[in-house]
């Protein structure tokens, strides 16, 4: 069973958004599906404006390569530069050390709460 903190909001494409801090990351469910993550590249920089659904990073695991999309629209105020050197932290600490970017004034266009996201993941498993 994946860990889904209730303080966060979730996108169908498996990113989390913290309304308190503006940070964005990849959910515990997503990291579990990807398995061991070996490479991450954040493709936006501080100062960029992102819109919800826009690709902000790409991650590669031993199984697959996939894109990470911004769950919200807003301005990028910080990028986790340390993440590229520790891609495995997405597996070990998806809601802590492994945040991707911080977005200011993040507008949430229909994100799910933890309960709805858990239900969504459960539905996908079948």
């Amino acid at each position: 069973m994946s860990n889904t903190p209730s303080t966060l909001k979730y996108a169908k494409s498996d990113e989390w958004f913290d309304p308190a801090s503006g940070k964005v990351g990849l959910s515990d469910y997503a990291q579990g599906q990807l398995s061991d993550i070996v490479f991450v590249e954040i493709t936006v920089s501080v100062g960029d404006t992102v819109s919800a659904g826009q690709a902000i990073a790409s991650v590669e695991s031993v199984k697959a390569a996939s894109d990470v999309y911004s769950p919200v629209s807003g301005k990028v105020v910080a990028v986790n530069e340390a993440l590229a050197d520790a891609p495995e932290s997405i597996n070990s600490d998806p809601y802590g050390a492994a945040w991707f970017i911080q977005v200011e004034g993040g507008k949430d266009a229909g994100l799910m709460d933890a309960g709805a996201y858990d239900a969504d993941c459960a539905a996908r498993a079948h």
Binding site: F39, E41, T43, S45, A55, S58, E60, A64, A65, D67
Partner: protein
């Protein structure tokens, strides 16, 4: 026996699934009149007749092995190829241009690629190599793609030295015509006598990549260390297009700080055979491995502790990255890469150095003898490897025609691509040219000038 594995029943099921009645319905979009055009072909020949006709046609070709003495280079070079290269190349286990799609089952192919990659990285002084591109020109264009993708479109300028092979510069422009990228630095007014540092003022914070050739198209050898430092100061990458034979003698581009080293692998065991197939090598720094096109084979141990080879990384390829792939190259020149790996293994480190040294010494003898002829001189004063630009008192085209009458394939007529180098001939000399041949070239060229 049939080579098409589907049965009529399966075919009908598939047709039904896509919603058409017959196979012909699938070709509806093609106008009926062009579906089976009448081909104006002569009557069929028997195998014996066809073989005889092909022999007759082939005998019209002249080649550098038995017909002509060659001093033509300009990107492709006539080197000796040990017999074992061809022998290994034609083994059934290797005789395909492709890496298999279930790669780990083909350990021999993977090992060959691993050896090729290791050899190319050592030769260029870089940390890793991919499994090859089509040729030197496409490898150079891939370097541009990689740099452009690395800066994610935030740097939109590429600076080319005018002394890069003209066809490489054309291929780079062809590759990049769909993206909003400025390719500059090589306009026809560029001063060809200038040192590489003359490019520095053109490198700015919008520059993704600077490309230079080593030795350059005119055979000249420059140390690009200062240029590379200046480019790095602006945050730009530098790609060195290198001749692999020359690298056996010269300081490696890796030692100069290059970010990418590419080049034509043909001098390493691949015949000239009228222009291809050849081989593009591509090496870079370890930190850029995820940006590199193509594939990377690694050595590992299996669950029983035995040495084995795996396809370690194919991250940039289309089947992984789909539309986000930064390269369209999924294929490679596997067989040609094998030829190079076998060639390098057979001649060895000292053998390659010997080949390079012979090229260097013979080219310098030829240059010195040729420049003694009245009205003839070397166009450039900088050090050169095995190729040099000769200034003539007559059009290079006329000289070449005269040489050909005497069984000599002359040099490359530089006036074709460089308006300022009319009457200039680019002459290449390799270990294949004997002293007698060089003396004959001097003699016949003298005759052509006296005419």
């Amino acid at each position: 026996m049939t080579y098409i594995p589907i049965s009529p029943k399966e075919r009908d099921e598939m047709l039904q699934a896509v919603g058409v009645k017959s196979l012909d319905d699938l070709f509806e979009a093609i106008p009926a009149r062009v579906r089976f055009p009448k081909l104006n072909l002569p009557p069929a020949l028997t195998e014996m007749e066809a073989a005889s006709l092909l022999d007759e046609l082939a005998s019209a070709n002249e080649n550098v092995r038995s017909d002509l003495v060659s001093f033509l280079g300009a990107g492709m070079y006539n080197h000796y190829i040990p017999a074992v290269v061809d022998h290994i190349l034609r083994r059934g286990e290797f005789y395909t241009a492709y890496t298999p799609y279930q790669p780990e089952i083909s350990q021999g192919t993977l090992q060959a690629i691993f050896e090729y990659q290791s050899l190319m990285a050592a030769l260029t002084g870089m940390e890793l190599s991919n499994a090859s591109h089509y040729d030197g020109a496409t490898a150079a264009a891939e370097a541009v793609n990689m740099a452009f993708a690395n800066f994610r479109g935030k740097r939109r300028k590429v600076v080319l030295s005018a002394s890069i092979h003209p066809q490489y510069r054309e291929v780079i422009r062809t590759y990049t015509q769909g993206i909003d990228l400025t390719v500059t630095g090589d306009d026809s007014a560029a001063d060809l006598q200038a040192s590489p540092e003359a490019l520095i003022p053109q490198i700015d914070s919008n520059t993704a990549l600077v490309l230079v050739q080593y030795p350059d198209f005119f055979g000249r050898v420059f140390d690009y260390t200062r240029l590379i430092e200046a480019a790095h100061a602006q945050g730009a990458w530098v790609c060195v297009i290198a001749n692999p034979t020359a690298l056996a003698l010269l300081k490696t581009p890796g030692a100069m700080g290059a970010d990418i080293v590419v080049g034509e692998g043909q001098p390493l065991g691949i015949p000239l055979w009228y222009g291809g197939p050849s081989l593009g090598f591509f090496t870079t720094k370890k930190q850029y491995v995820h940006k590199m096109a193509g594939r990377l084979v690694g050595e590992t141990v299996d669950t029983r502790g035995q040495k084995g080879y795996v396809l370690t990384l194919t991250a940039r390829e289309q089947h992984i990255k789909r539309e986000k792939a930064t390269s369209n190259i999924c294929s490679n020149q596997g067989l040609m890469a094998l030829a190079s790996a076998v060639y390098l293994s057979v001649v060895g480190k000292s053998g390659l150095k010997q080949v390079a040294n012979l090229c260097y010494q013979k080219a310098h003898y030829a240059a010195s003898e040729l420049s003694k002829l009245p009205g003839v001189g070397l166009c450039f004063s900088q050090p050169f490897f095995h190729e040099f630009a000769l200034c003539l008192p007559k059009p290079a085209e006329e000289i070449n025609a005269h040489l050909l009458e005497h069984g000599i394939l002359g040099g490359y007529d530089l006036g074709q691509e460089y308006p300022s180098l009319k009457n200039h001939l680019l002459v290449a000399v390799t270990e294949m040219n004997t002293k007698e041949e060089i003396d004959m070239l001097v003699e016949v060229l003298k005759e052509a000038l006296d005419e």
